[in-house]
């Protein structure tokens, strides 16, 4: 089943194409990471998909509901955390949760139960009776996540959910996202690529309003796998590196120290031959191998490569 179905969605501001002909399908229960530099069109896309902006062209369905035309059925099924969550500062965290629960027409018992559950989940139970005006940026972000979940949304939109959080807060939110994906489809935009790598099953990369690629994280990593082999040995590998320099299908062998551990890195000029013959070369060296892998690129590496050189065919 498709949770988010976008066809030809465009948004122009005069001559500026904030979003240009976006076609996208996000399956149910996926955690979809939407990546792009500043001004790429991430927030515009989220605004269009949640009904807060009117498209110039195209259409979209979210959780089976048509987006736009004041369709309130959409708001029943989604949760939204905007990039900068704003609250009525005179309310307490608990009052705000109660308010959004009432807007979702939950029963008083359900509101009370969900409020306590969610405040516990985002670790705001103790601060629940304090005015939101006195909350830190991180606390506001966590309250924003809690309020977006009160209606048990089928699709949850998170615009930069971890940007305002400290490392511990970020880890907690990412853990929460992983837990939520059992019942919810999550569409999150982020600048923090390591976060996307940790939680997202699918990613889309957008630049200048154009979607450049959509894929699972694994498929992207395979597609953009660099032909670099990494090896670690128990003994000194200086001699071994010298011997690698003489092999014509290898290039740039070197010892690189990563986190205090010396590694041998070598680039294959002929990846298939290297895959077949490098293990034999290592065996002949007489060294004790402790790690051997064809290095996978991080999402950050892929992101930079795509934005610099375009998508690999």
């Amino acid at each position: 089943m498709t949770a988010i179905d976008v066809r030809g969605l465009s948004k122009y501001y005069g001559p500026v194409k904030a979003l240009d002909n976006l076609n996208l399908e996000v399956p149910e229960n996926a955690v979809f990471g939407f990546l792009g530099p500043n001004g790429a069109g991430k927030t515009t896309t989220i605004k269009l998909l949640t009904g807060f902006a009117r498209p110039t062209a195209g259409e979209a369905r979210v959780a089976g509901e048509k987006v736009g035309d004041g369709n309130l059925g959409l708001q029943v099924k989604i949760g939204l955390l905007p990039d900068v969550p704003a609250f009525y500062d005179w309310m307490t965290g608990r009052e705000f949760m109660q308010f959004v629960g009432e807007l979702h027409h939950l029963t008083p018992d359900d509101i009370k139960k969900r409020t306590e559950e969610l405040l516990e989940l985002v670790e705001l139970k103790k601060a629940g009776n304090r005015r939101v005006g006195g909350y830190s940026r991180g606390m506001r972000q966590r309250l924003g996540i809690a309020q977006a979940l009160i209606n048990r949304p089928k699709v949850l939109f998170l615009d930069e959910p971890t940007s305002a959080l400290d490392p511990i807060g970020r880890r907690e939110v990412l853990k929460l996202i992983l837990r939520l994906k059992e019942n919810t489809t999550i569409f999150m935009s982020s600048h923090i690529l390591s976060d996307v790598e940790r939680v997202c099953s699918m990613v889309g990369i957008i630049n200048k309003g154009k979607l450049i690629t959509v894929s699972s994280v694994e498929a992207l990593q395979k597609k953009y796998a660099r032909s670099v082999f990494e090896m670690e040995f128990m003994e000194d590998a200086g001699q071994f590196v010298e011997s690698l320099k003489k092999i014509p299908w290898l290039a740039e062998p070197a010892i690189v120290v990563d986190n205090g551990t010396p590694q041998v890195k070598v680039r294959a000029l002929d990846i298939d031959r290297a895959r077949k013959e490098l293990p034999r070369v290592i065996g002949e060296s007489g060294l004790t191998l402790t790690r051997y892998e064809l290095s996978l690129p991080s999402i950050e590496d892929i992101f930079v490569e795509i934005l610099t050189n375009g998508e690999k065919k």
């Binding site: 605004k47 807060f52 004041g70 309130l72 905007p82 704003a86 609250f87 009525y88 005179w90 027409h105």
Partner: protein
């Protein structure tokens, strides 16, 4: 009007927690007390200021004069306060992002704007009741005499005029993310309609004519400006309608 009741409850709480009711009520009560006192003691103040060298004969103050003075002040100052209270009601929410937070829930735009107008109107209603009670009480006590039914009629017309000022400001507030711009335009509309309402014939159709009608009720003169009443009600409805249309059609 989905979500109207929780929105109205929130708006009323906001009026209380941000002390809007206390401030607006306080100003109305101030005029309710000060106007009869001023009228009562004005001759003596003038006598003292003149040090007995000059004698100014003032006609005896009547209850109708005292109540009309209060109504005149509330008509002007109240309109200004209405604009100040309403100018940021939607604009500030659009600017800060709270409108997005609220409207991301199953809430209709019409419920969003109507709840705001109703809550602000309630603040003014309570303030007017308080101000009027004080004015009436002080008038009976100091000046003696009363005109109960005409004063109630005056307050109803005055109240409707202030709701009109709130509605116009709310309409502009839905158009701009700046409360100041909304307030400026609303004051412009209130001033322009006040100028037109002083022009013969065409003026009889302006909301500002409700104030003249209210004063006429106290003195028992003049006729009712029913067209002005009807047009004011329609204008309030149109302001609400177009405010929610603007919110529906704009990118938030």
């Amino acid at each position: 009007m989905k979500g109207f009741i929780p929105l109205l409850r929130k708006e009323i709480q906001e009026q209380l927690k941000l002390y809007r009711l206390v401030i607006v009520g306080g100003i109305f009560v101030f005029f309710g007390i000060s106007d009869p006192i001023m009228l009562k003691y004005l001759p003596e103040i003038l006598k003292m200021a003149g040090s007995g060298q000059m004698v100014i004969q003032l006609p005896t103050t009547t209850a109708a004069q005292s109540l009309a003075e209060y109504a005149g002040n509330i008509g002007q100052i109240g309109a200004l306060i209405a604009v100040l209270v309403a100018m940021g009601c939607i604009a500030n929410e659009l600017k800060s992002g709270t409108a997005v937070m609220t409207l991301s829930k199953p809430v209709s735009r019409s419920a969003f704007v109507t709840a705001k107008l109703l809550a602000m109107s309630m603040t003014f209603l309570v303030s007017m009741i308080l101000g009027s009670l004080f004015c009436f009480g002080y008038t009976v006590w100091l000046i003696h005499g009363s005109v109960v039914m005409p004063f109630i009629g005056l307050n109803l017309l005055l109240g409707l005029f202030l709701v009109f000022c709130l509605a116009v400001t709310l309409f502009f507030s839905s158009m701009y993310k700046s409360g100041l711009a909304a307030g400026g335009l609303a004051i412009g509309v209130v001033i322009v309609q006040a100028i037109i309402s002083s022009i013969p014939i065409i003026g009889n159709f302006m909301p500002g004519k409700l104030l003249s009608w209210g004063t006429d009720l106290l003195t028992g003169t003049g006729t009712g400006y029913w067209w002005a009443l009807g047009i004011t009600v329609v204008a309030i409805g149109l302001c609400l309608y177009f405010a929610q249309r603007f919110l529906k059609n704009r990118d938030l």
